[in-house]
């Protein structure tokens, strides 16, 4: 096998050195009745060229070349080339968790810079080295709030990504953490009155997403006030990191759980992505995940180490703040490089372009279909309600090698024929115009069909 650095002679010599006659002797400890005496029924050994062909073929069957208006927690932004040039260096790609600081300073310093930039962008004081993704980060953030407040019940905004809600439910069930859902109002934002009414002295935290699942910026001030007045914490989930370039971060939050995929991470059919948790300094000892801290060596040279490990499973075992061990380090490095490339000015300009494309699209959709929650501030997503079933419209778009917005029925039955559209800096005006045109067509035909019916019934 081409990955194995041994010749038959090497194996012979080694077996002799060990004092064994055959390779089978190595497996003597395994009771014979369990030993596999046949080949595994898996594909035969393939040449590299065959493997490449196999995946090229799969790629062609996977929407390659389609223009997409999908967002909903996974965003298509341009990935500067140097991200892959740098993360492909073996010293990053094939390194382990940086427990041995003397030969891991590269990874450690880059994580320290990552933590710093996340703090700068979120307005928090500390950030960890990554969590699995935005959904698990949100769940862990809630558990953090539960530990910090000593309360157990949780208020969750219905405008939180539906799959994040599902994941939270899975994590919460067996920990005796009652979840209650707060609905959204006419304006597509969390219904603050409802929140005020339903929050209790048992509420450990309120969990909202902003921009929320509809792309709308929540009224964090109001929500924070209610939460804090009731002794609850505010946990804010951020699914579209690029929004931080132009949207004021939820500085009033106690914990921020974010999905950083937008920062240079490929869509990759849903993963690997990069969750992050950020919070205030005083909460750090309840934080899950790895943390890198600055220190000095014997000679007083600045250096970095993994720190506050007493929170973690390998030290604390069942008393750990979380069971997380392997995280999303290399993806966090992509995010890190992306943040470094765009930086203070570029991130704002990038976000502005997303804003402009989305404003243009929303305005033009509004001329034909109905754009919901129009009055509220939004970033790069918006909800369009059509007369026709969006699935039908979308299948027509597919004919133009376009993927339309995400039909919301599945997650929000009451929204009927609405779908969630997303535009980024990569969405071209002409693509928007084409999509708008097809929606307009659909509206026209439905209308004329209606009129015909009226004709007849008249």
């Amino acid at each position: 096998m081409r990955y194995l650095p041994k010749s038959p002679a090497d194996r012979e010599t080694m077996l002799k050195a060990i004092g064994l006659r055959s390779v089978d002797d190595l497996f003597a400890p395994i009771p014979p009745e369990y030993r596999l005496t046949r080949d595994l029924k898996i594909p035969r050994q393939m040449a590299e060229s065959e493997i490449v062909d196999f995946f090229r073929q799969r790629s062609r069957e996977n929407g390659d070349g389609y223009t997409s208006f999908l967002g909903a927690g996974a965003y298509f932004h341009y990935r500067p080339v140097i991200i892959d040039s740098l993360i492909s260096r073996g010293e990053f790609l094939t390194a382990y968790t940086p427990y041995q600081a003397e030969i891991s300073q590269g990874t450690l310093q880059s994580i320290f810079e990552f933590q710093t930039m996340i703090c700068e962008l979120t307005g928090m004081e500390v950030a960890n080295a990554s969590m699995y993704d935005g959904s698990t980060a949100a769940a862990e953030a809630v558990m953090m709030a539960v530990r910090l407040t000593g309360r157990r019940s949780v208020m969750v905004a219905r405008t939180l990504h539906p799959e994040y809600r599902e994941v939270l439910a899975t994590y919460a069930t067996h920990q005796g953490m009652p979840l209650s859902i707060a609905n959204y109002a006419q304006d597509g934002r969390l219904n603050v009155q409802e929140l005020e009414k339903s929050i209790t002295p048992e509420t450990a935290c309120v969990l909202v997403q902003s921009p929320n699942f509809f792309g709308i910026v929540e009224d964090i001030d109001a929500i924070a006030q209610i939460a804090h007045q009731n002794g609850a914490m505010l946990v804010v989930s951020i699914a579209e990191a690029v929004s931080l370039g132009i949207i004021e971060p939820p500085r009033q939050a106690d914990v921020i759980a974010m999905e950083a995929q937008s920062f240079g991470v490929p869509l990759g059919f849903g993963g690997p992505y990069c969750g992050v948790i950020a919070t205030r300094e005083k909460n750090v000892r309840q934080m899950p995940g790895r943390l890198v801290g600055q220190t000095a060596d014997k000679q007083g040279n600045r250096g970095f180490v993994l720190t506050l490990a007493t929170r973690e499973q390998h030290i604390r075992r069942e008393k750990a703040t979380s069971n997380i061990c392997t995280n999303q380090a290399l993806v966090a490095l992509m995010v890190n490089i992306f943040m470094t490339i765009y930086g203070r000015v570029g991130l704002k300009e990038l976000a502005k372009q997303n804003l402009a494309k989305t404003a243009y699209a929303a305005t033009h959709f509004a001329r034909h279909g109905k754009v919901l929650f129009g009055g509220s501030p939004r970033f790069n997503e918006f909800v369009v309600e059509t007369s026709e079933d969006p699935y039908a419209i979308n299948s027509r778009l597919l004919g133009h090698k376009m993927i339309g917005g995400l039909p919301l029925k599945k997650f929000y039955p009451e929204l009927g024929n609405s779908s969630l559209w997303c535009c980024t800096e990569l969405t071209t005006r002409s693509a928007i115009d084409t999509a708008v045109g097809l929606v307009a067509e659909s509206e026209r035909s439905v209308r004329s069909a209606k009129e015909e019916v009226e004709e007849v019934t008249r």
Partner: protein, 496 residues
């Protein structure tokens, strides 16, 4: 002080500050295309939600970024540079073709919500990988959703809980051997099970007597690592399973050590009910400095109904799709479908190996561990003489007499051009030297490792201080971790 080694030398190496220290207003590494739609006024659109200031985010040029991360990278050790004998971590070669195919356009840019009709490629990859892993483990069904091993443990225990629940009683506790990895108890706690320790016998295996005695209807499951963290195969695995099953308990297998079994034995054949795999260990996806990983969970028929949703299914029309309607599911453990990019890499690895390659791989992994064991026996204390599979665990007992502990020897290894072995566990071995070479090491590299370990053992006798002060050849040495934890500095601040 210069170690007597043929493995490494010192060489000039670039220093590099923090990126923030290179920032200066007006530098930029980005450039956006001209806007093809009208400009907008954020203030008008966002009101007071508009952000005005991005604080201390850096402003640097492209070449500075290239140099920054290239220089940083040269401070790291990596598999690409040499042997990484971390026990339990399975630091094997990460094939480059895996990286290439993961970047093929339609695979890298597929959106998780794009219509199934145009997602057949991704679905096919998930299905093929699932089938391979089911065959390799000998189990009946699988979920690819968990993002790492620990996440898989949680998913597995949630299914255990759901299973017992379905029988009317979720039960109270999980048995975990004292040799287990920290994630096992941590996970049990997250799923709200009490952890009960199970002690090992003189051979480093589960003590059957205590198991019998501790097993009862309150026990939901036993979390067993097999081969265990001593690298020892639990020979009475079937008795263990029987004892559990007799009392309605389930056998959870931590599959972190599957690299010792693939193609040679199948957990499904020796009584395991549920187990996780670490694609970033056994199946060659890169560790990337700590992640990402992927922790598929394989189960037997009885547990299949509880798998997280969605699962990949073949539809009547012959195409593939996701099934969300799973009444008994434990629910989602992650958004979308898991770390798909790792599925691609793991499948490419399986294809590159085939049945023969995977078997050879396992054989070489076990051969390597035993070769090292033989080479170091007598020089380092071997607390358990039970035969080793893919890894061997020594203790620092002999060196401790000179006041040299496992961590000191580990640090000294760095001067010899190697990454240290694992020191953190198993807890049943005080001062453990946990060594897993994997199949990826050549005889040459292992001979150098053995030579280095022997030479360090001699140094301990002749000049322990050199070992206690190690490493001597690195940019920085023995960073002050206590200070770091006492007054944590977790981010850069202007004027730091």
């Amino acid at each position: 002080m210069k170690p007597k080694t043929r493995k490494a030398t010192r060489h000039v190496n670039q220093n590099e500050g923090l990126i923030f220290e290179k920032s200066s207003p007006g530098k930029a590494a980005w450039k956006l295309p001209p806007l093809d739609v009208p400009e907008v006024d954020p203030a008008r659109l966002l009101g007071n939600a508009e952000r005005r200031d991005l604080g201390n985010m850096p402003e640097v040029s492209e070449i500075e970024i290239i140099r920054h991360f290239t220089r940083l990278s040269t401070w790291n050790y990596a598999i690409d540079l040499g042997m990484y004998p971390l026990g339990s971590c399975t630091m094997k070669y990460n094939p480059r073709v895996n990286e290439a195919v993961a970047r093929v356009e339609g695979i890298a840019n597929g959106h998780p919500y794009q219509p199934e009709k145009i997602s057949q490629g991704a679905l096919q990859i998930m299905k093929t990988l699932s089938e391979c892993l089911i065959e390799i483990t000998g189990m009946d069904a699988i979920t690819l959703q968990p993002a790492a091993g620990a996440h898989g443990e949680m998913t597995g225990l949630l299914m255990v809980r759901a299973y017992h629940q379905s029988k009317g009683n979720p039960r109270k506790k999980v048995l975990i051997p004292d040799s287990a990895h920290g994630t096992n108890p941590a996970t049990a706690a997250m799923v709200n099970y009490a952890v009960e320790n199970l002690k090992s016998d003189a051979r480093g295996m589960v003590d059957l007597a205590s198991l019998k005695q501790q097993m009862n209807e309150d026990v939901a499951a036993l979390m067993l690592t097999n081969p265990n963290t001593l690298g020892v195969f639990e020979q009475q695995i079937h008795e263990i399973a029987d004892i559990l099953h007799a009392k309605g308990g389930l056998l959870y297998m931590d599959g972190a050590n599957m690299n010792a079994l693939v193609g040679k034995v199948r957990p499904g054949d020796f009584g395991v009910d549920v187990m996780h795999l670490n694609l970033h260990k056994t199946f060659s996806t890169p560790h990337g400095g700590g992640g990402p990983g992927s922790g598929p969970v394989a189960v037997n028929r009885a547990l299949e109904p509880f798998l997280p949703a969605p699962v990949v299914v073949s539809k009547p029309d012959g195409t593939l799709g996701f099934e969300y309607n799973r009444p008994h599911t434990v629910g989602r453990v992650r958004s979308f479908y898991g770390n798909f990019g790792m599925f691609v890499r793991a499948l490419a690895y399986i294809q590159a190996n085939g049945p023969d390659g995977l078997r050879e791989t396992t054989e070489d992994a076990v051969l390597n561990a035993n070769y090292i064991r033989k080479g170091l026996e007598g020089i380092y204390d071997l607390p358990y003489s039970t035969p080793s599979m893919h890894e061997v665990v020594f203790s620092d007992k002999l060196q401790a007499k000179k006041g040299v502990r496992t961590m000191d020897i580990a640090k000294r290894l760095i001067d010899y051009g190697f990454h240290p072995y694992t020191t953190a566990f198993p807890l049943i071995v005080p001062g453990a030297l946990m060594i897993e070479p994997t199949e990826s090491e050549s005889k040459e590299e292992m001979d150098l490792f053995i030579e280095a370990m022997k030479s360090i053992a001699e140094e301990v006798e002749e000049d322990p201080q050199t070992v206690l002060d190690a490493p001597h050849s690195t940019r920085v040495s023995r960073l002050d971790e206590t200070a770091a934890a006492r007054k944590p500095v977790l981010r850069w601040k202007p004027g730091n």
